[in-house]
Amino acid sequence: MTDMTVVTMSKGVTGRNSGEPIYLDYQATTPCDPRVVEKMLPWFTEKFGNPHSRNHRYGWEAEEAVEQAREQVAAIIGADSKEIIFTSGATESNNLALKGVAHFYKDKRNHIVTVVTEHKCVLDTCRHLEQEGFRVTYLPVKTDGLIDLAALEEVVDDKTVIVSVMGANNEIGVVQPLAEIGALCRRKGAFFHTDCAQAVGKIPLDVNAMNIDLMSISGHKIYGPKGVGALYVRRRPRVRLVPLINGGGQERGMRSGTLSTPLCVGIGEACAIAQAEMAAETERLGRLRDRLLAGIQARLPEVYLNGDLEHRIPGNLNLSFAFVEGEGLMMGVKDLAVSSGSACTSASLEPSYVLRALGLDAEMAHTSLRFGLGRFTTEAEIDYAIDHVVEAVNHLREMSPLWEMHMDGIDTKSIKWADH
């Protein structure tokens, strides 16, 4: 262990003491695990070779490192390393999967199925494909955030080329029934793509058992570096893609460009650590998450959980604090780094489309906070967060006219509000 490692670790664990807010936004991004950084460092400096250079040792050792990383990524999802393509991140992976497949098979099939709660990079890619003339079905979700398999069955037809359903949702953490979706797609002859940026390392994944044909993976959501991701592309039965990036034909022609050895090594090591520690981490985070939920609900009335609790990654909690606006609340919990589904935190001024898709009215969507727990979250931090949230919510409810009405027995929905 180097000195740097120790310093980084202590900051991660005791961020509170250094005067910085407690980081509870692990679905936004994660810190690089110091063990990952340590593995990456030599590949920036002394081992700087181009992994595609075939003529000398510099190239060979870089290639070997990249291929080892490819195996580490493949291992965590039960794939063969030949089926892993390195990309710049999950956004690129999602673009490549959807556009690549749609364009390759466009003469045979032109229909795409996805879900309204997908990440913006899937939805925006689908919108783009719609403009090109593809037909896209956006499947709704139930109030628990999960899709209805019977509804999926109905919309997938013999023109459906690809079905894209995320593994775990970035806002509410709910885990979709991937194996069932995979079986359905296989039966109907459609490819199954899943954006697993939030799921890899959090839940067991097996591309063969789940009949997954394409899977997007992100480095920085699993304690790896930003700027690197991967796309799993099934070889048997073979999935073919039109590449987004043309060039020297790297990554089996599907993604040209010189690979970054340190970034590949980083995501590989991140996968290896995640795979080794997933069982223990799931148990530990689940316990902390339950502690946070129970601690808040024991002391505050009118707190509602968004999304199913059982089918959920362990490190996510998304709560609506009725009668308290989310951005105002985030300002109140300034010792916590969290996210809100409130309109005011987004550029669009629209409340979270994911929460709206669960059937939450705009009012409740405005009152939500997302707590993301992760590898460096401690019990002491959770206990502090509970106290801090309870205090802030009580303070803001004292000055909330809606809370006052609620306490007076007035239903705020019975009032005719002037929209502005």
């Binding site: 308290v324 606006e325 951005e327 105002g328 300002m331 405005h366 909330s400 006052e404 002037a418 502005h420």
Partner: protein, 132 residues
């Protein structure tokens, strides 16, 4: 979003949070905004027999800028006549709090809240006069 020091000050130390009895003769209540839009302000003024606003209270559901805007106007309306209070412009509020463009609607809402409170007071008292 980075807030100005004045917004943070009003958020952390809101002035005049609370409520007067809605039914009191000398109280005007303005309730503006909508929960679905993420902002609701309730502003109340207490008016002296001479027509001077002698006290004000607010409660706000909203972001930091909305809370600060309403807190600020409770300070500004005190000591003013109803006409003077009605002349407070959202631009003055936005300027005082250094609100960014995306938060201008908070100052607009605060201006609306003053006007609504004044209108409520006048309506109440006009009815009383008519009844006498």
């Amino acid at each position: 979003m980075a807030y100005s020091d004045k917004v943070i000050d009003h958020y952390e130390h809101p002035r005049n949070v609370g409520a007067f009895g809605k039914e009191e003769h000398n109280v005007g209540t303005g309730l503006v905004g909508a929960p679905a839009c993420g902002d609701v302000m309730k502003l109340q003024i207490k008016v002296s027999p001479e027509g001077i606003i002698e006290d004000a209270k607010f409660k706000t559901f909203g972001c930091g800028s909305a809370i600060a805007s309403s807190s600020l106007v409770t300070e500004w309306v005190k000591g003013k006549t109803l006409d003077e209070a009605s002349k407070i412009k959202n631009t003055e509020i936005a300027h005082e709090l250094a609100l960014p463009p995306v938060k201008i609607h908070c100052s607009v809402l605060a201006e609306d809240a003053i006007k609504a409170a004044v209108a409520d007071y006048r309506k109440k008292n006009a009815t009383d006069e008519a009844a006498e």
